[in-house]
C-alpha cells in the first residue's frame, strides 16, 4: 500500500472504519432533517421566490426596468454574471487540478465544491439569458440553419465564445460531478430500507455494480476528464475576460485580463466554498472529514490567488500611467479618486489587504475568522466587477454624457433572487445527495486516517 509521511497531518480524524464513513454521510440523508435546515430553506426559498418574481417582471416589462442609461449601458447584469461564473470556478479547480496534482485533501471537499460550481454556473447563465430582453429568442446564440438569408452567428465575437465556453463548462462539470456521484448513489441504494428511497436512489445510481473493470474505467474517466477540464477552467474565465479585453474602452482594453480574471475567479470560488463548508461541517457533523487542515489549505489558496489579484491591480495602475495614454490614465485615476472611489477602495481593502491576514497561522486556522473573511472576499470580488464595468463606462469621451448608475429595485431583486435560488439548490443538495465523495474518502482512509497513521508510526518505531 502507498505509505504517507508521518509529518503530513491526517485528513480523517479519529478512528473510523469504512462502515463509519458510510454511516456518517448516509445517516443524515435517511433521518429527518434538523430544524435548522427547514429554517434555512424557508428563508432561501422566499428570497428565491421574490427573485423569480422580479425575473418574470423583468421579462414581461423589458430591461428598461433596470437602472441602465445611455452611458452606463452594462452594469449589474454583467457584474452578477461575472461574479457567479467566478464563484463557479472553485469546484472544477478542486476536482480537476488538484486531482492532477494528487492532492488527497481535495477528496473531502470536491463533491460539495462541484455542486456549488454547477449551481453558480446556472445562476451565471441566467444573466445573459434575461439580459437579452427577448429571452424567447435565446436560441439565436447558436449557429442554427435559418431563413434570414442564412445569417450565422459571428465566431469572431467574444460574446459567442462565451456561449460555447459557458455551455461546455456547465455540461462537462455536470457530467464530471455525476460520474463521481453514481457509485455513492449505489451505496445509498444498497443501504436504505424505505421503498420510495430505494427506488429513487436505484434510478440515480444507474445500476452501478462496483466490479473491478468498472472501477478501472471510473479511474480512467476521472483522470481524462480532469485532464481536459483543467484547460477548460482556465479557458472559461479567460473568455469571460475577453468580453471586456477585446473592446476598446479605457480600463477594459488590457492584455492582463485573462490571468487576472482567472485568479480572481479561483479566489472568490474558494471563498464561497469556505462559506458553505464551514456551515455544513458544523450542521452535518463532518468535523472528522473536513478538518482544520482542509480549511487551512483552502486559505492558503486564497492568499496565493488574492496576492495575484493584488499584483494585477497594481500592474494595471502602473501600465495606465506608463502607457502615456491620457484616457487610459484617466480611467484609473477616476476609479481611485472619482465618484466611485468608495467602490474602488472597498475592492482594494477586501481583495488585496484583508487576505494578507492569512499569513498568520492563528488566523488562517481560526474557523470564525475564516468564515468572516470568506464573506469579505466575496463582497470584494463583486465590487471588483462593478468597478471594472461601471467606472469604465460612466465617464466616457464626452463629458456631457457623464453620469452615474443607480440600480432599481428590479436590479436588486434579481441579484438577491439568484443568491436565494443558489442557496435553495445547495440546501437541497446537502439534504439528499452524498455531500462527501464516499468512495474517494474511503480509498484514503488507511493512508491518511488518523488512527491508521498512528498505528503505522508505532509499527515503525518498534
Amino acid at each position: 500500500m502507498h505509505a504517507e509521511s508521518a509529518i503530513r497531518e491526517p485528513l480523517i480524524l479519529g478512528h473510523k472504519t469504512y462502515h463509519d464513513i458510510t454511516n456518517d454521510i448516509v445517516g443524515p440523508i435517511e433521518n429527518k432533517a434538523p430544524r435548522g435546515w427547514y429554517i434555512l430553506i424557508t428563508i432561501a426559498g422566499l428570497i428565491a421566490a421574490y427573485g423569480t418574481g422580479c425575473i418574470l417582471y423583468l421579462i414581461g416589462k423589458g430591461i428598461g426596468t433596470w437602472g441602465l442609461n445611455k452611458t452606463v449601458d452594462w452594469a449589474w447584469d454583467i457584474t452578477n454574471f461575472v461574479w457567479w461564473v467566478g464563484i463557479g470556478h472553485a469546484g472544477t479547480l478542486i476536482s480537476a487540478v488538484l486531482l492532477l496534482f494528487r492532492q488527497r485533501w481535495r477528496m473531502a471537499i470536491n463533491r460539495s465544491a462541484e455542486a456549488m460550481t454547477i449551481f453558480a454556473v446556472i445562476m451565471a447563465a441566467t444573466f445573459p439569458g434575461i439580459h437579452m430582453g427577448r429571452i424567447w429568442m435565446a436560441y439565436w446564440v447558436f449557429p442554427l440553419p435559418n431563413q434570414f438569408g442564412s445569417l450565422w452567428v459571428n465566431f469572431n465575437s467574444p460574446l459567442l465564445w462565451d456561449v460555447f465556453a459557458i455551455s461546455t463548462y456547465f455540461s462537462v462539470s455536470l457530467v464530471f460531478w455525476y460520474i463521481g456521484l453514481i457509485p455513492d448513489f449505489a451505496t445509498i441504494r444498497d443501504r436504505v430500507t424505505r421503498p420510495m428511497m430505494k427506488k429513487a436512489y436505484g434510478i440515480l445510481s444507474f445500476g452501478w455494480t462496483g466490479n473491478a473493470k468498472a472501477w478501472t474505467r471510473f479511474e480512467e474517466v476521472s483522470l481524462v476528464l480532469a485532464g481536459i477540464a483543467t484547460p477548460l477552467v482556465f479557458s472559461v474565465h479567460s473568455v469571460v475576460s475577453f468580453d471586456f479585453a477585446t473592446s476598446v474602452i479605457p480600463g477594459w482594453h488590457t492584455t492582463i485580463f485573462p490571468p487576472y480574471f482567472v485568479s480572481g475567479a479561483v479566489f472568490s470560488g474558494f471563498a464561497m466554498v469556505q462559506t458553505l463548508l464551514l456551515v455544513m461541517r458544523k450542521v452535518m457533523h463532518l468535523e472528522a472529514y473536513i478538518t482544520k487542515k482542509h480549511i487551512e489549505y483552502m486559505n492558503i489558496v486564497i492568499i496565493v490567488t488574492g496576492s495575484i489579484v493584488g499584483v494585477a491591480y497594481i500592474t494595471e495602475l502602473f501600465i495606465s500611467w506608463y502607457s502615456g495614454v491620457e484616457y487610459e490614465s484617466y480611467a484609473f485615476i477616476n476609479r481611485a479618486t472619482g465618484p466611485y472611489l468608495w467602490a474602488y477602495w472597498s475592492m482594494m481593502t477586501c481583495n488585496v489587504i484583508s487576505p494578507q491576514l492569512f499569513w498568520f497561522k492563528k488566523l488562517r486556522t481560526h474557523l470564525g475568522f475564516t468564515f468572516f473573511m470568506s464573506i469579505i472576499v466575496n463582497i470584494g470580488m463583486w465590487f471588483e466587477r462593478f468597478v471594472i464595468i461601471v467606472t469604465s463606462l460612466h465617464r466616457d469621451y464626452m463629458p456631457s454624457a457623464w453620469t452615474m448608475f443607480h440600480p432599481t429595485w428590479v436590479d436588486v431583486g434579481v441579484f438577491l433572487g439568484t443568491i436565494g435560488i443558489f442557496f435553495t439548490l445547495y440546501l437541497l443538495f446537502a439534504r439528499f445527495f452524498p455531500v462527501l465523495a464516499l468512495n474517494e474518502v474511503k480509498s484514503i482512509l488507511k493512508v491518511s486516517g488518523e488512527s491508521y497513521k498512528q498505528q503505522a508510526a508505532q509499527h515503525h518505531h518498534h
Binding site: 500500500m1 502507498h2 472504519t17 469504512y18 458510510t22 449557429p143 438569408g149 445569417l151 450565422w152 459571428n154 465566431f155 469572431n156 465575437s157 467574444p158 459567442l160 465564445w161 460555447f164 465556453a165 455551455s167 461546455t168 462537462v172 457530467v175 464530471f176 460520474i179 453514481i182 457509485p183 449505489a186 451505496t187 441504494r189 444498497d190 443501504r191 434510478i203 445510481s205 444507474f206 445500476g207 452501478w208 455494480t209 462496483g210 466490479n211 473491478a212 473493470k213 468498472a214 472501477w215 478501472t216 474505467r217 471510473f218 479511474e219 480512467e220 474517466v221 481524462v224 476528464l225 481536459i228 477540464a229 484547460p231 477548460l232 479557458s235 475577453f242 464516499l438 468512495n439 480509498s443
Partner: protein, 177 residues
C-alpha cells in the same frame, strides 16, 4: 455436476489482493471483484486489461476539432463572410486566431461527452438499470471476490474454498448457477 459461484468476502483491500494472488498462483481464475472503491494494483493480478477509454476520448476530441473547423469555415468564411471592422474574413487561415476559442471548447465538449457516454454504456450503467452487485455490502465496506467453477474445470468448489480459507477471508458463500 452443477456449476457453482463462490463469493469470498474480505474486510480489507490488501487482504483481498493477497487472496487473489494465492488463487491465481494455484491456477484458479478469479471471475471478478466487487469493492466500494477502486483497489489499486488488483487489475494485473486478476488479468484485467487496461481500458481504452482514453483513446475513445481522443477520437471524440479530434472529431470535435474537425467539426468545429468545418462548421466555422462554412458559417463565417464560405456561406456568409462578415465584415467586422475590416478584418480579413475571406480566408480561414487569415481569420483563424479568432476561431481558436470555439474550436477548443467544442473539442473539449465532444471529448468529454463522447467519453462519458461510452463509459456509461460499456459499464452497463444507465438510468433505470437494476443493481447487479452480488451483495449490498460491496458498496459499503466489504470486498468480494467472485470465483466460478465453470471457469475452473480442474478444481472442485471444496478445493477452491479450502485455498480461500488459507487467506484472511471473513465469509465464503456459495451459490448454484
Amino acid at each position: 455436476m452443477a456449476n457453482k459461484v463462490i463469493y469470498a468476502v474480505y474486510d480489507d483491500p490488501e487482504q483481498l489482493k493477497d487472496g487473489a494472488r494465492k488463487l491465481v498462483s494455484s491456477g484458479i481464475k478469479v471471475k471478478d471483484v466487487f469493492s466500494p472503491f477502486p483497489v489499486h494494483g488488483l487489475d494485473p493480478i486478476i488479468g484485467i486489461k487496461r481500458t481504452r477509454l482514453g483513446i475513445v476520448s481522443f477520437m471524440f476530441g479530434i472529431t470535435g476539432t474537425a467539426l468545429a473547423v468545418l462548421g466555422i469555415w462554412y458559417f463565417n468564411i464560405y456561406d456568409w463572410p462578415m465584415n467586422i471592422g475590416g478584418k480579413p474574413s475571406f480566408h480561414y487561415y487569415q481569420n483563424v486566431p479568432a476561431f481558436i476559442p470555439v474550436t477548443f471548447e467544442f473539442t473539449v465538449l465532444c471529448a468529454a461527452h463522447g467519453m462519458a457516454i461510452t463509459y456509461l454504456i460499456r459499464n452497463k450503467t444507465l438510468p433505470g438499470l437494476p443493481a447487479r452487485n452480488p451483495d449490498p455490502r460491496t458498496t459499503d465496506d466489504k470486498f468480494i471476490m467472485e470465483v466460478r467453477t465453470a471457469d475452473n474445470h480442474g478444481h472442485s468448489s471444496e478445493e477452491i474454498a479450502g485455498l480461500l480459507r488459507q487467506t484472511p477471508v471473513t465469509e465464503i458463500n456459495e451459490r448454484q448457477c
